[in-house]
Amino acid sequence: MGFRESVSVAIVGSGGAGALTAGNFLLEAASIAGWQGLLTRTIGPQIRGGEAAALLRLATHPVECMPDRYDILIGLDWLNANRFEAEIEIGANSLVISDPRGGETPPQVAAAGPRVVEIPMKDMAKAIPEGRANMIALGVVGRLIGLGVDTLLVLLEKRLAGKGAAAIKASRAGIQAGYDAAAACKFGERLAGPAINGKRRWLMSGNEAAGLGAIRGGIRFAAAYPITPATEVLEWLAPNLSKMGGALLQAEDELAAINMVIGASFGGTPALTATSGPGLSLMIEALGLATAAEIPIVVIDVMRAGPSTGIPTKSEQADLNIAVYGCHGDAPHVVAAPQSIGDCLFTTQWATYLAETLQSPAIVLSDQFIGQARASIERPADVAFIGQRAKATDVAGAYKRYAIAAGGVSPMAMPGTPGGQYTADGLTHSERGIPTSSERDHNAQLDKRRDKLAQFNFGDHWATAEGAGDLAVVTWGSLTGAAREAIARAAGDGVEAGLLALRLLYPTQPERFATLLDGKKRILIVEQSHGAQFYHYLKAHYDLPAEVRVLNRAGPLPIRASEIHRAIMEWR
């Protein structure tokens, strides 16, 4: 029996079965054992008791996108599981573990022709005092993929420490029982041994990574209004900002949240909020205010399917337009997008640095996929981007808050600085900050705010460029991982393609873009937007090669590596 480089598992269950907990456990145990992995989930609309599936991909290498197909599908029960039909694809080589008392196997599962093994997980759980079927399932899967039972048991002790001896005993027994029951299953190749390379690794979600990136970048105040799927950013920040001498304030609505952030930043404290599409819509007016008054702020938008209330629990990339163009008037500001869970840390930190340096709002376009997925990743490197805003400290004479000078950034007086008094204003203002309707001042300040962004050197972080060939796959955000995997597969098939993933969406970088696309005759644009927002954005701001194809789709299903791969292969 050989070994495989990656394996993917789906654990499905409903009504308190604990599928998601089992998935989390499995990811953590595998990560401790040295594997790398990515966990997402898909759920029904209920708050409790709904159908849910934990989706994992484990590998000996970094995992940045979900698989095309699941190798193991374990059903604690099949109630309403047909909901997940499109998302959990299986095939003839898949193994399905089914509980005879779990309801009827969904027709699409049977139709795929997998091997089905019945394990009576519910009954086994019943036989253990306080036993739970999801622990049985955990043991089963652990055995199948080659995870040592000890790893599972040690983690169990750690995670259930607060739940009491009885719970721990029951779970141990459950895992062991599952482990034993799986002995009879023939699964095929087990996951190859993890590469132990001494690199420190972390287990985190994109939302948590964004929170840490914010603090590293210097954020010390956050205003919070809960919204799926961004709330976890704020929940992570609440206690941790406080430990750093900062504070988080829950606001009565997003209008208050964004204005609180502006007030805190005006007072000198780097400040942030996190929201999703509907919240960002509410915040747009204030973003214009911060742009006009040149106040640094960071807004993380964890994008979800829209428009309007949309599908709150699913990912999409359709807030690009509002992030870049949403403000009335001409209000250029920074827009950046992380490309992976680990990149959520870097990009949020970088955005904080950019906001403070350029005295501008910076929107970070994350999405539900990377925001809520958890992965084991290499510990992200420490980077030197820490917000340092230009402050006016020694003010002599009439202070010009918005003085026109080289580079476009004018030092900001913090309240409390004698002589630096000015009134920040959304009204068009003169260099001294006094409201004016003069043509000269209006244009001078518009030029200043445009030029400070246009003249700034964003360095190489503005985009990720890999590979060669005359075809480039151009994408952004969470699709970067799937694109990368597709390109690797195409390379395996003898077709060379390059990757260009934009991290900085605004201000645009026409010269750098041209350099990176030099020699490319064809580009394949990949994005998760029904209206192809990214394609239109690229067409508007950049010179594109003659041959352009677009692979775009709305949510709720992620765009898979196989789809991108097919698009590459079909375009030879």
């Binding site: 401790i32 840490l212 304030l249 209008l255 000198g268 204030a286 008094q421 409201p435």
Partner: protein
Amino acid sequence: MSVVDMRPACKPGDYKSDIKPIWCPGCGDYHVLMSFTRAFAELGLPPENIVVVSGIGCSSRIPAYTTCYGFHGVHGRSLAIAAGLKVTRPELTVVVASGDGDGYSIGGNHFLHACRRNIDMTYVVMDNHIYGMTKGQPSPTTEPEFDTALSPGGTGLRPFHPLVIALASGANFVARCFSGEPNETAAVLVEAIRHPGFSFVEVLSPCVTFRPDEKEWKNYVHPAPVAPTSDPAKAARRLMTDDGFNTGILYRGDRKPYQPSVGQPSIDVSELERDFEL
């Protein structure tokens, strides 16, 4: 002279900037500006340690007419801006200025929560029972029979009672003043600013352009016949028969102001990584 006064000799003129207000001559807000500068002088606070935060409307133009730091934000959001500012810079004196439209209509929700949150700041609403800046639409405090272009024949709606709302929502200091009595208003502002927590001061400030009838206000206002109370139930009872022109401090509460402790970190940022280490 016996005691050395550590405060610099502050005159109201020190707090008035050289920018000429755009308010119509006759506007009550000129008096309110006077009250502000007189109050600041009385408090002896250096102008750079005061921030005047406002929204949109005639009243909201006030920050630039002072020599303090100012924030002229967007419509209705001044309390939120002030909250973020004060919580992160607790040593500053934060005064929020608004009008009845900005403060009670679009800003209504923030008003409720600002009272509830009780962050230490002073909220001054210049109430002229009209939207002045946009040419005379009814505001939440406009009388139901007052005829306007947007509400021919009057709105027919019962006006909002800001003092009731403030008291019910938890404001720690509630007062009403009349702009035409700037020294009294200044004295109330001094107390309001000194009082910890969220202080709400409604200042009746006539609009000479759209409410010339408000010239009569000087004949309607009268000082409250009883001293301020610290009993919210008493205050509520008084409000039941309030005619809208009682002036003076109604209520002084003792709720502890909301202020998280900010400043020094208690850990190194690297310790935050422990959450994630495998």
